[in-house]
């Protein structure tokens, strides 16, 4: 079973497929607006709901706006929210998780009970609740997703720190008189990084999906700013006469989220080739 010791074919394929999809979406978000011929908010009421044509490859929406242009700008929102949430939740979660795991004792107990409370809300329920009271706005969406997102990183980092801090190189550093923050930063966290990367990739997929869900429910990004989730919601009332309104933004979300999930999944195999062999479940 020699092949079991490397990444098996399907693992490598998912990694590459994921990486390519993610890079394409990032490029569209970064440079797309330079290439779109139309403004995403220009109304053409006399041409509303027009089907795809050469001039408008993905057609026009219920107010006659160019769907392709709106999707390209929508990519900025999705990627922007995804990255902000991953960075903020990742930093907060890593900090608290590292403190919890390294300090142990009462600090650990208090912090872990705190994560229990946040984990007591399934999925995006707490985010929906927060945005419902704070009001629909981009910054509230990011805030709400960070509030529900940090817990995953905290739990993950804590678990890893608990394992790593028992290893000899950490004991050696402690014996040499290195101070705790330096041990965590220089010796422990670099070892947690690969696992964090997987979590970040899967977490960004979750954040993009959550933002789109909130916007779909009318609790997220507000019009006229283009958001994929809101575009699908608007398209729902035109399933009969203009199904392209809901179709294309959905494909965009699907490909983006799938890319990130593929990437995360492929990274797990890269970091831990044993998983495929032993069939270890994914920690997520």
């Amino acid at each position: 079973m020699a092949e079991d010791y490397g990444i098996p074919g399907s693992g490598r394929a998912t990694l590459w497929a994921g990486a390519v999809l993610v890079v394409v979406v990032l490029l569209i978000a970064l440079f797309g607006p330079l290439l779109t011929p139309y403004d995403p908010t220009t109304l053409r009421l006399e041409q509303r709901l027009e089907t795809p044509s050469l001039a408008h490859p993905l057609g026009l929406d219920e107010l006659g706006r160019d769907i392709l242009s709106r999707m390209v700008y929508g990519a900025r929102i999705s990627v922007g929210v995804g990255l902000s949430v991953v960075i903020l939740a990742g930093l907060l979660g890593t900090l608290l998780g590292a403190i919890s795991g390294y300090a142990g004792g009462r600090v650990d107990t208090v912090l872990m009970r705190l994560t229990d409370v946040f984990l007591a809300f399934p999925g995006i329920l707490l985010a929906i609740a927060l945005v419902a009271v704070l009001g629909p706005a981009l910054r509230h969406v990011v805030l709400a997703l960070v509030v529900i997102g940090w817990v995953g990183y905290a739990r993950l980092v804590r678990g890893q720190v608990l394992q790593i801090k028992e290893q000899e190189f950490v004991t050696a550093a402690q014996a040499a008189g290195v101070r705790a923050p330096r041990i965590v930063l220089r010796h422990i966290l670099p070892n947690v990084l690969p696992t964090l990367l997987v979590q970040a990739s899967l977490g960004m997929a979750g954040a993009i999906l959550a933002e789109a869900s909130l916007s779909f429910l009318g609790l997220g990004i507000q019009p006229p700013t283009p958001s994929w989730g809101a575009m699908i919601n608007a398209g729902r009332s035109h399933l009969l006469d203009a199904p392209h309104l809901a179709l294309f933004p959905g494909i965009a979300i699907l490909l983006t989220v799938m890319g990130l999930n593929f990437l995360g999944d492929g990274l797990v195999d890269l970091i831990n080739p044993r998983r495929r062999r032993s069939g270890e479940p994914r920690e997520d």
Binding site: S10, P122, I128, A129, L217, G229, G235, A246, D265, G279
Partner: protein, 306 residues
């Protein structure tokens, strides 16, 4: 076993209290005056003061908190601003529809993931395994708020097989439960595959076969049973997640459950009802986690001795 149940209950109650506290504080996170927010612009001064008094928001915070918790214990969550009815009565009316949807979605998820996961485990790294891996990643990536409308487009509008929306018999349950169950099917396929694949390599299977049991019987009697333990946990935990997923699915299909009720009350700024709905889902989820843990401990004696 009783010790374990008591221990888990003792862990759950403080969390339930903190969850209730967080839900209580929601109303105080509203920027500005929550009462003016609920009544909207142009409300009379007297109306604002009346409602403030009615909701008890003119009392000291600690008193408000006390009566919120006291009410919660007695099953009194105040009255809906829009419907003028007790919140708990409205919740009770919508709860069964959500449970029904969640159960049906769980069935859909299991019907897809059990055969697929088991086949993938037996044919590891073969075409079936790769296809199941692709399906499970696709399943967890597909936005349910897109899948729902697309299913409506194909199966209701074009093929006219199922109703577009509402809750009227079994046919109306099909599309919503596929919409809600697909992501879970993806997750479970993965779990079942890896859980069973792990068991298939364990020495006890060789022992069973050495004692004369056929491979098939050894797998069915021993491996499947052991592999089901982690799957039971995931099924329990994910049932709670279905309750949240139901918020979107119910909105798409106008399914008269808790999720749609929450979104409607957010639009109506009926905050007591929003609080009640969120609390109902969160507490159900906590309870499900507790039950799952107890079942898990029952199935796997190593857990309860820890």
């Amino acid at each position: 076993m009783t010790d374990y149940v008591i221990r888990r209950l003792a862990q759950t109650l403080p969390i339930a209290l903190l969850v209730a506290t967080l839900v209580f504080s929601l109303i105080h996170m509203i920027p500005g005056d929550p009462v003016e927010m609920m009544l909207g612009e142009g409300a009379q001064r007297s109306e604002v003061e009346n409602l403030r008094h009615e909701l008890g928001l003119d009392r000291p915070l600690i008193q408000q908190y006390g009566s919120f918790l006291g009410g919660l214990v007695k099953g009194d969550l105040g009255s809906s601003l829009h419907f003028g009815e007790p919140v708990t009565r409205i919740l009770a009316r919508h709860y069964p529809a959500t449970l029904e949807l969640a159960f049906a979605s769980m069935l859909v998820a299991l019907a897809i993931s059990l055969p697929l996961g088991i086949l993938a485990a037996f044919h590891r790294d073969g075409p079936i395994d790769h296809a199941s891996r692709f399906f499970s990643l696709l399943g967890v990536s597909i936005p349910n708020f897109w899948l729902g409308p697309m299913l409506i487009l194909v199966f209701s509008i074009q093929l006219n097989l199922f109703p577009v929306s509402g809750r009227s018999g079994l046919a109306s349950l099909v599309l919503p439960s596929i919409t809600l169950g697909t992501a879970l099917a993806g997750l479970l396929t993965r779990m079942i595959r890896s859980s069973l694949a792990e068991e298939l390599h364990k020495p006890y299977l060789a022992t069973a076969q050495a004692k004369g049991l056929s491979r098939r019987l050894a797998v069915v009697r021993h491996a499947l049973k052991n592999a089901s333990i982690p799957v039971v946990t995931i099924v329990g935990l994910q049932f709670g997640a279905l309750l949240t997923g139901a918020i979107i699915t119910e909105t798409i299909f106008a399914w008269p459950g808790l999720g749609r009720l929450i979104i409607q009350s957010i639009r109506l700024r009926d905050y007591p009802l929003v609080q009640g709905g969120i609390l109902a889902i969160a507490l159900t989820y906590l309870l499900l986690n507790l039950v799952t843990d107890v079942v898990y401990a029952y199935l796997d004696p190593r857990i309860r001795l820890r």
